[in-house]
């Protein structure tokens, strides 16, 4: 047992899904040609003035109330000064001492235990541009900049240092992603960078009340990367201390390929951002009535949906948790039920089993899935009607997942129709009984497992297409 305790706090950046940027009317659309979603304001040309997008404020308040924060009555923007070419103005418009929301929390669940994680603050800011390094970065003597992302609205959510393990950090990020997806203010795609996460992490001897020196870890682009990077960092810090060394306060970057964190020393001067109120933007006075309206209009959040699924559909706590962990998955689940398939448990089994297995193996999200809820329902109906067996259904499902074809088409193409016709099955059963007199004898003398062998022979003779329930029943009748 380690006698160290890990202390982690996360800073999560979320891009808000508005039509236009935070301080100008340029589009926020992802993936445009470089430097085409830009205007004089977000390019930082002289003489321009930022004008604040009201939707950003509404969304930031929505995030704040969804994670139980107190919403400020008075808030303002500040300039964070630093020189970096992804920032054409040489300052980022952000919030310093009067953020939009503070003092919130969210609950995570690990090993059936609920833990409350404090949220320090939520503030609004503009995203920076993207640096593109072409060719060999060590040989090339220049960098390229695309300002399309500059000015896309962000909220930054800062947690208290309440997380005590990489697993807790991951659970917190997953929960935060789910909540924000449910509120509808962001699609939270880590692979496109609309959800990003940095971690502050330190270790200290168990029982100590003083925090150890922390390192800031960047460049973790997936839940798995977050957990792996933090596990590595815990190990590194403990080993450094055990060897009599000292932890240096620094920023480190996660190298996913090598599985290590590396120091980013000397990139920047001491973090001295010389914040001051932005004179181009006037303060916000937030009407508590508006906040109440936003709170009242908040959609159902993951925890609420989870308990509803347990209560109304009889899902186990675990299944309800998995189904509601993504808004898209929960919506998919409900779509299947709305389309008339009433056995929620079966739908949930297919989603949490086969579907998630296939999605994970391809690294896809549920909203990229080719199988439409209606097609899944159709396939489930085919199982219920005895047209295909459960085993065939798995093949059909994989094929649907690959091609998006209707189950009926796949079943026809692959000749997967289950044999449920008594005459055909009966003929095969008779043949198998005739060919295996010894086994029949064994069964009659009380060896029940002899039946399994006979079933196997029948399935083999029919290439797995015989309806297993009918085969079993018929065998027992005939041997009776």
């Amino acid at each position: 047992m380690s006698h160290y305790e890990t202390v982690i706090g996360l800073e999560i950046h979320v891009e808000l899904k508005t039509n236009s940027k935070i301080f100008c009317s340029s589009s926020t659309e992802f993936g445009g040609e470089p430097n085409t979603h830009v205007c004089p304001v977000c390019l930082g040309l002289p003489g321009v003035l930022p004008v604040f997008n009201k939707k950003v404020l509404e969304y930031a308040i929505r995030v704040g109330v969804a994670i139980n924060c107190k919403i400020a009555e008075f808030s303002k923007f500040d300039r964070k000064n630093y020189y970096y070419p992804d920032l054409p103005k040489n300052y980022q418009i952000s919030q310093f001492d009067l953020p939009i929301a503070e003092h919130g929390y969210l609950d995570i669940e690990l090993d059936n235990k609920v833990k409350r994680i404090g949220i320090t603050r939520v503030h609004m800011e503009e995203d920076a541009g993207k640096l593109v390094h072409q060719g060999n970065i060590t040989i090339s003597n220049y960098s390229l900049v695309d300002y399309n992302r500059t000015g896309v609205p962000l909220v930054e959510i800062v947690s208290e240092p309440d997380l005590r393990s990489p697993e807790e950090a991951r659970a917190y990020l997953e929960k935060m992603k789910a909540i924000i997806q449910y509120t509808g203010v962001s699609d939270c795609k880590m692979e496109e960078g609309s959800l990003r996460c940095d971690a502050n992490i330190s270790v200290r001897p168990k029982g100590s009340l003083v925090l150890g020196t922390k390192a800031e870890i960047k460049n973790m682009n997936s839940f798995k990367a977050l957990q792996r990077a933090l596990e590595y960092e815990v190990q590194r810090q403990i080993e450094t201390l055990e060897d009599g060394g000292k932890i240096v306060q620094e920023t480190r970057t996660w190298d996913d390929g090598k599985g290590i964190t590396l120091s980013m020393r000397s990139k920047e001067q001491a973090h001295d951002y010389r914040y001051f109120p932005d004179p181009d933007l006037v303060p916000m006075i937030i009407d508590p009535k508006w906040v109440d309206e936003i709170r009242a209009a908040l959609p159902e959040l993951p925890d609420q949906r989870k308990s509803r699924y347990e209560k109304d559909y009889g899902l186990s706590e675990y299944d309800a948790e998995v189904v509601t962990s993504s808004k898209y998955l929960a919506d998919y689940f409900e779509d299947c039920l709305t389309l008339g398939y009433s056995n929620a448990k079966i739908v949930s089994n297919w989603l949490t089993g086969e579907l998630l297995r296939l999605l994970n193996s391809k690294g896809l999200e549920i909203n990229q899935c080719l199988i439409k809820p209606g097609q899944l329902v159709e396939m489930l109906n085919m199982i219920d009607k005895g047209i295909i067996s459960g085993k065939m259904a798995k093949m059909v499902f994989e094929e649907m997942f690959e091609s998006g074809s209707d189950p009926e088409v796949i079943v026809k193409e692959k000749g997967l129709i289950q044999i449920s016709d008594e005459g055909s099955i009966s003929a095969v059963v008779d043949q198998v009984l005739e060919d295996n007199p010894k086994v029949v004898e064994d069964f009659r003398s009380g060896k029940d497992n002899a039946l399994g062998f006979l079933v196997g022979q029948i399935m083999r003779a029919t290439k797995g297409k015989a309806n297993p329930a009918m085969v079993n029943k018929m065998l027992r009748d005939k041997l009776g």
Binding site: N19, S25, K54, L144, K267, Q269
Partner: protein
Amino acid sequence: MLVITIADVEYVALLSRLELTEDEKIKYTEQLNAMLEYAGMLEELNTDNIQPTAHVLSLKNVFREDQATGHLSQEKALQNAPDADGSFFKVPKIV
């Protein structure tokens, strides 16, 4: 009152990526101190019951609606760039 030293000027110059000669450092230290001294007059006032100023105007809540309108063309966006490469701004290497 706060006094600006040459070390302060060197630090701010470093943060601002400015290269200053020794003569300039002395000159700016004097000038910055003169400015601070002038602003120091405000210390004569009693501000115990005054809220910190967030903005010099009494305006508040100036918003725009969330509508995306036209952009600059890529050509225009890059027109004044000190250097460009195809569709990108080109800058000295950043690691």
